[in-house]
Amino acid sequence: MKVELHMGGWMINMGLVGLYRVFEYGRKHEIISEEHKHSVTVKPWGIELDTEVLPQLPRAYFLYLLEEYSVARRECERLDAYIEQVKNEEQFKNHLTAIKKVISDTGTKIIKYFTHETLESILKQIKEIKKYEQVHQLEEHIRTLKQVYSEPKINEKLTFNYFKHAILKPLFFGQVSFLNVSKNNLDFEGHVEEFYNSYIFPVVNDLYLESVINDSHSMEEISSLLEKQSEYQLFRQLKRAWKKKTLEEVREYVKTEINKCLLFNERLAFYNFEEMVFSPIGVAKDKAFNFSWYFNGEQPRPLSSLAKLVLLFAPIGSTIYYKNEGINEQTERRLYAGFVQTDATFAEVLQKNNHFRELKKKREPFNKIVSQLVQSVKKESEYTVDHLFFLEFFSDYDSKKTHLHYYHLPMYLAHYFKQHADRLDYIKPYDYREQFVQSVLRGADPIHVIYHYLRDCIKNERSTNGPYIAVRERNRILQFKKGVRDMATTDKRVTALFMQGREIRDAIIRSSGSEKKVTSIAYRLLNAAKAGNRKSFMDTLLRIYMSTDRPMSPIFLNALHERDLDFATVANAFIAGLLANQYKEEQEEVQA
């Protein structure tokens, strides 16, 4: 039977992309049998699915995850990296401690599940290694360890644990079906079976029931189906409810009593959209009062088994990556799921997300990703670009917490990124760039990032080339928003302010001979700028100029009337200049 799976909101699109990826993977690795290799086809509106292939999906699903998150591969790469470091004699002691910890951590995890003599003896022997002379011994042990990790049984167990407990459960589903702690002892086949029972089996039956209700001419067919699959809880209920009904009455019942699916509108919904289906935005069924359907407090939002299945593929459709949240000391590393959503055809959604995933895997910074994804911006595709947005969420099932960010990409930003995104690379360290780009994408002013950044530069005497670029790029974005496309004049103004800052810096250092005075002035100016106190800023500025006995550029008047530049740009560009150390390489970069 062929079913149409239409694209919709980002949630369902994530699932569809995931489903397609799993199918493709299965087809390539011959997990999906030859006769079904055309069962999933891409259509402009989504996916056409032949339900015959469904029973083969669970196996492909787990094998896909097994490959994607292979712990053996990750651990081996890690060990390779460590062994390189350990070869450095001076650093030997430090790295040895780290490497021992990594090995014993993974080792204990394995021993928890398997008795493994080789591993145990290696763990013991590694403890004995203390001197640099033993480095060859260590290398030898690591070689053996890599083999141990790569043993299919061990890799499988550790990898399953990882993607279940680090990704699927906290980010997407909670403790449902094979994710429940009671299913921890299941082996590979056990997982496949559990998947089949709780997801595939209902879909197959529900779809069959739908077709029988629509096509059959007598009640017998329906009754015999319900009879045949009596181990399906739902069918037992329906059997009771439809016992003495005629075909017409049953059809009427279906029409009036059974809801249609929230995500695939033509499907019958026997399930609900709740926490276990998609935990980032789902709510437990009996607590979802404000999500009730048709104002009926008893009925949460209806969902078909098919939609439930598709959502199970969401973790594979999205891109999973670590992200630092917060600035400076308050950063927290969190696992995020990201997705690129557009109004384009399914093929394009798929392609954009594959691209997104590749870039993330290469650890490309966000601005690069954005600029690459909008490379195809052309006049004729403006509509699509207008509707391109990024979405990412962090979710923690146990603490019932979700951070969901939408990053819209309006036209002016698309153009900006296309032309200037590589300039943002000068914003270092990476965290500031990421923050900068994300607040821009969120439609917010990145000015707070710049304030933090400048403060950091004053405190840690970092090069202020980065903040200067940040100030300039922020100004460019503001100009783009206003519709200005030629940056020559306003860039010149920003540069002029930066240069003014540098000159004053030189003058102060020449007269006082110390950096301290510059630092204190920079702090004062920064505080004034941050507080939006134009008067206090101008006051300080006039005093500096008077003390150095130089004329003050009228460009500073923008701090008051903001005719050509906004106050923040004036202030921050000047401060960045004031803090600039004069290294040669910097000057080159500034010309960018």
Partner: protein
């Protein structure tokens, strides 16, 4: 302002001259500063001035509604008929209010937020003798303009924002001729 040394007839002999300019308008101050920067020598009526150092004075922040002002240059208060009003005149406060209201209206497009009350602490009468080229053309070199103004200390209350602006702008007639510059002696809590 004048560091007074010796008076020789109609001339005052000085070693140096300090000019204080006060304004709430940074734009004006910036242009003024840049102008002074670009010109170091000035000539005026055959006298020569060399600009030395430019510094920014400390401006006090008026945070309460009561302040004591000291005049840095005398206040010139006149009534509708241009007759000078002395601080002990019962209408003095009324005229000060009218003047302050006009000054603020001119600067920010809105007059006083709250009427001022003025209480003189100590005032000294001062007659200013002046001339300008228009007056000289009409009446000759020998004739002079005389302004009866008052110098001293006084107590003023009103809206802090008004007081701050009056402090920056000056409070008097003929402010651009140097009348009416104020200094905050004390901000009462």
């Amino acid at each position: 302002m004048i560091g007074l040394d010796t008076l020789k007839g109609n001339e005052i002999e000085l070693d140096e001259l300090r000019v204080v300019i006060s304004s709430p308008d940074y734009e004006f101050l910036l242009h003024l500063y840049n102008g002074l920067q670009s010109k170091k020598r000035f000539e005026y009526k055959g006298y020569e001035f060399i600009r030395r150092k430019i510094v920014m004075g400390e401006e006090k922040k008026i945070t309460s509604s009561v302040v004591i002002f000291r005049t840095l240059s005398p206040l010139l208060i006149e009534d509708e008929k241009k007759i000078p009003i002395a601080p002990d005149d019962p209408n003095y406060e009324k005229h000060i209010n009218y003047l302050a209201d006009t000054i603020l209206y001119e600067y920010r497009g809105r007059g006083l937020y709250k009427p001022l009350t003025v209480r003189p602490i100590r005032f000294k009468k001062m007659v200013i003798k002046e001339s300008n080229h228009q007056f000289t053309e009409k009446y000759g070199e020998q004739q002079h303009l005389y302004f009866t103004a008052y110098h001293g200390l006084f107590h003023m209350s009103g809206e802090p924002a008004d007081l701050q602006l009056l402090y920056q702008l000056g409070l008097s007639k003929r402010r651009n001729q140097g009348f009416g510059m104020l200094e905050v002696e004390e901000v009462k809590e």
